[in-house]
Symmetry: C2
């Protein structure tokens, strides 16, 4: 199999201001990702990730629009959808095209616009990631589905809702110095406890925002022709990748907290890379909700069941801790423009491994993982990245 | 590169009756595609193609729902969108996963439901395949965009609108004996000329219907473990594949009739297979509109510019002609459940090459092509299939 490397990224500032259309939002990040000192980059495959470009933006064939905007004519361009894991699924699809020899250079773009519509409209759009006939159509939202997950976790492990506070607190702390983060604002444990309850026991500060964002990533297969590009800068190798699904409806799961797809995809990605979680220097978790961060850490074997919050409270996941997570603020504070999130995660991990993370640098980072989750653990894509 | 073969298909009857949900519609075709005499088939990758499952059906993550319904737990499942080329793009994505060694057995499912909503709602949904900000939002629809294309073609080549009649006539003739076709009804040149004008000069019988459908296809990579499967029945090899985009907006094209993505993707797919159009025994064209069938035949080099209608009138594309098209009725008469169409095309071509096309059999067929078009020639995926 041809080795795959990440070369460059473009990250739009995540906003809630609904100021840009898709062309403007994504155009800037694509130009950034293509601007390489090693020579003009001409990707021949573009894979876009977006969940709601049609539902909220009336735009399908988003990849074709992005190819247009990037001036990439005659290329292959398709769009991948896996709810909030659309970005990760797009990256996986592009990596496969590189592995299969369909191209030597691929461009991955995640883009989402949600802040131009009313909150209720966005919430209803997001609920299309549930089993619509059995959940969404009956009023289930991602707040209510995550609240159910949270209640189950609190009961099973005898924890208290406020014990989840370290997750939003650390995410906001990391976002303070992240140029592309949406919320560069400190949040305390007290702020968390005082924030509005959305669906008991889930509070506003347990949830990531409705926002807009776009991220682009340039990936290459290692070949004779791409070697000169790899000699510039610090390429980052994609050493593991896996995607897995769980049941769409929460009600169909034997164990609500098992998150089989999150556990399985991370296990398989690590196995492909010949690594285990102890080898990781950082992990970009899908902290769309505090409970999702906690559970993902537990099912992936980073924390013991029910004890991720103890590890978080002890500082294990902080920027200078044993296994930093959400190093640029995560979904909670960098923001969660859903279809773009998986691409932001990969780009952020790449910057860390290249030593280009600025004030957010994890010292000596050589191995990273990212995990992107669609639905309440329904479609999960996990990646392992390594500094060459 | 590992050789890819198509083994089996499941084809739901295309309907306009809005009777089934996604689970029911797609479940039947998946079961059919998996029911193989060579042993229990366990695909580990599922790729779904759908354009409007979110917009019209409120369901995202369709691939996860289909994996659920098929009883495929712990597999990889993602959804691909490229407007009316979503099915072809899904197949391409699955073939890449097979080539890349990510799986040995892949399941491709195209599914679309459009007949459960009002015609205006469906039309507006379909218009999301245009450049929404510059076309769709201003009232452009696929009828108006194809009518513009038709006017340009009539003017440039001095043809008359009624000369396109042979395309719907032959499609309906072939559908008469196609069990899964939507319109099993003969249509004459006179019927075409008498049918309602939708947007001058485009008539109702120049357009494919708004309908529901689902098709599934089982594809395998040739490996030690899959060889026993290939010994049963007649596997069909995917010898060429390519996808290419053109500008999203029709206004951005230098030559409206060039259909660069259709021409380019077919040229590249043929080159990959080491074939040219003279080697083809049948061609499943994307006849969403009569003009699109005519133009595709011209830009792919089957007919001279402006003369596809002469070839059609001479019977060249009929079931017993030199190069049959739309052998089960095509988009016009089998029906065009948009995201499923590309999968129907591949499945139909497979049945032809296996000698299993019944009354619609093209005699001695050994080499086939399919072409699936999203938008007015924006995203195009072309495949070459060969009987082993």
């Amino acid at each position: 199999m041809r080795p795959i490397h990440l070369l460059q990224a473009g990250l739009a500032p995540v906003t809630r201001e609904a100021t840009s259309g898709f062309r403007e939002l994504a155009g800037q990040v694509v130009r950034h990702a293509l601007d390489h000192p090693g020579g003009p980059l001409k990707p021949t495959v573009l894979v876009a990730g977006s969940m709601l470009s049609g539902v909220l933006g009336h735009q399908q064939q988003l990849a074709a629009l992005l190819a247009d905007e990037a001036g990439l004519t005659d290329v292959e361009a398709i769009t991948v959808e896996a709810a909030c894991a659309s970005g990760g699924a797009a990256a996986l699809t592009a990596f496969r095209a590189l592995q299969a020899g369909a191209c030597d250079i691929a461009l991955i773009v995640g883009a989402e616009r949600m802040s131009h519509v009313a909150v209720d409209t966005a919430t209803r759009g997001l609920a299309m990631a549930s089993d619509w006939d059995r959940e969404g159509a009956h009023g289930a939202t991602f707040v209510s589905l995550n609240a159910a997950l949270m209640r189950e976790w609190l009961t099973r492990y005898g924890r208290k809702a406020e014990e989840l506070a370290p997750f939003p607190v650390l995410a906001h702390a990391n976002a303070l110095t992240a140029p592309h983060a949406c919320f560069r604002k400190e949040v305390s444990v007290q702020d968390h406890g005082a924030s509005r309850i959305l669906d008991p026991p889930l509070r506003l500060l347990d949830a990531s925002p409705i926002c807009d964002g776009a991220a682009a990533l340039l990936a290459v297969a290692e070949t004779e022709s791409t070697r000169p590009l790899l000699d510039h800068g610090t390429p980052v190798r994609v050493s593991g990748m896996a995607s897995q699904v769980d049941t769409l409806a929460q009600a169909d799961r034997g164990d609500l907290l098992a998150l089989r797809a999150a556990a399985g995809s991370m296990r398989r990605a690590l196995a492909m890379a010949g690594r285990d979680t102890r080898d990781l220097d950082l992990l970009e978790v899908h902290d769309a909700y505090s409970i999702m961060a906690a559970l993902a850490l537990e099912v992936c074997g980073v924390s013991a069941p029910g004890q991720s919050v103890d590890d978080a409270a002890a500082g294990r996941f902080c920027l200078d801790g044993e296994l930093p997570i959400a190093t640029f603020g995560g979904l909670k504070a960098r923001g969660h423009p859903v279809g773009a999130t998986g691409v932001y995660q990969l780009a952020e991990a790449m910057l860390q491994l290249q030593g280009r993370a600025g004030d957010n640098q994890v010292r000596g980072a050589r191995t990273a993982a990212t995990q992107n989750i669609g639905g309440v653990g329904t479609t999960v894509t996990s990646f392992i990245l390594e500094r060459a």
